[in-house]
Amino acid sequence: MIAPLPFDFANGTQPSLAGALGVGIAFGWCLERAGLGSAPKLMGQFTLRDMTVLKVMFSAIVTAMLGLFWLSWLGVVDLARVAVPPTFIGPQIAGGIVFGAGMALAGLCPGTSCVAAATGRLDGLTVAGGLFAGVLGAGLAVPTIARFYESGSRGTLAMPAALGVARGTVTFAVVAGALAAFALAGRIERAMAARAGAGRVRQ
């Protein structure tokens, strides 16, 4: 089960699959409405011309973090039922590098490539195809890379335990970091726009 949703996605029953479909559609809709189905928009993040990705992702993180913290405090959500993926330091660093390189090259990540494909964009379809090929290739390679794949297990490690601080402290730090990032992102966007405007005037 993935709390707070009452579904056990892993067991493959029809209500669970219907729930997964509903969550997927809602996620895709949010990405599309945020404009993240467009590769140029995502590339704007790497060139610092458009900070939408940072704003959308940090907004989602802060909303989920504050929501879970306070819903747990109110007794609505049991945090013990929220899935925490196990940590494998080395393999996840390697995966992050591969993922980041792929995202910079394609201009789309897995979720946004599906959104782009669903809206009929050819680049989205191409990236989604590459995504499935990559998943298949990685799956087939697991026996070969099994030793590395399973190395560095740290269990269900989360930031409060890793840093030895309370969950409230981590929540506050992330919220403060997000608000600072939003303010900085606005300044960077304005500065980049001003520079682009000055370039056009000179031409």
């Binding site: 039922r81 269900t156 309370a166 409230g168 929540t171 919220v175």
Partner: protein, 208 residues
């Protein structure tokens, strides 16, 4: 435009207030509820909230079962059809959602297994949350049990002991061949290992 900006600033201010309050509150649990719900002391619970996942090898688990380790409980988190097809001797079939109902007992050691790392990790976290202090996850799940206990390739000083353990569970141990050392894929068992220390002999029963 001004309205939108004011709305966004309002959301930012709300997030700042909620974040600051989270810092003051510290834990996402009301003190009176924590006191009521907590089976173990607050200090112990804090230590267990996000523990590193303890693992156990298939051979170690096999030894524990064979030796009748006191308080050992083995929980199979796979679906019921997989459990019916094959499971580790003495294992009980449990759905992930049933785990919070498994209350801790003194001296109990729980071993979880499935074929899904995430499911194991989540199960271990849930059991820790309800107060279990000795929770282990079977490294490699059911696949490891089959590979290391039921159909092991044995060699070296520990070969006899592993072969004995394997036979206890109805396994078919076989001696390593040059092909095994060269990493060539295994086929059917080629030779059964006889052991002077095999106190159970060849037991013709499969435990799973």
């Amino acid at each position: 435009m001004t309205d939108t900006r004011a709305f966004v600033r309002g959301l930012g201010a709300a997030a700042a207030v909620l974040g600051a309050l989270a810092f003051v509150v510290g834990a996402p649990v009301r003190p009176e509820r924590a006191a009521r719900d907590t089976i173990i002391s607050a200090a112990t619970r804090d230590a267990l909230v996000e523990p590193a996942m303890e693992t156990v090898s298939a051979l170690q688990l096999a030894q524990w079962i064979r030796d009748g380790r006191p308080g050992l409980r083995v929980l199979d988190l796979r679906d019921s059809s997989a459990f019916e097809t094959r499971h580790i001797p003495s294992a009980e079939s449990f759905g992930l959602m049933q785990l919070p109902s498994v209350l801790p007992k003194p001296g109990e050691t729980i071993v979880l297994y499935s074929d899904d790392d995430l499911r194991d990790a989540q199960g271990a976290a849930w059991l820790a949350e309800v107060g279990h202090t000795r929770v282990h996850v079977l490294r490699g799940g059911m696949s490891a049990w089959m590979r290391e206990v039921i159909d092991p390739v044995v060699q070296g000083d520990s070969a006899a002991a592993i072969a004995a353990l394997s036979r206890y569970f109805g396994g078919v141990p076989r001696a390593a061949t040059p092909n095994d050392n060269a990493g060539v894929a295994r086929t059917r068992p080629a030779a059964r290992v006889q052991s002077a220390t095999d106190e159970f002999g060849v037991v013709a029963r499969r435990g799973c």
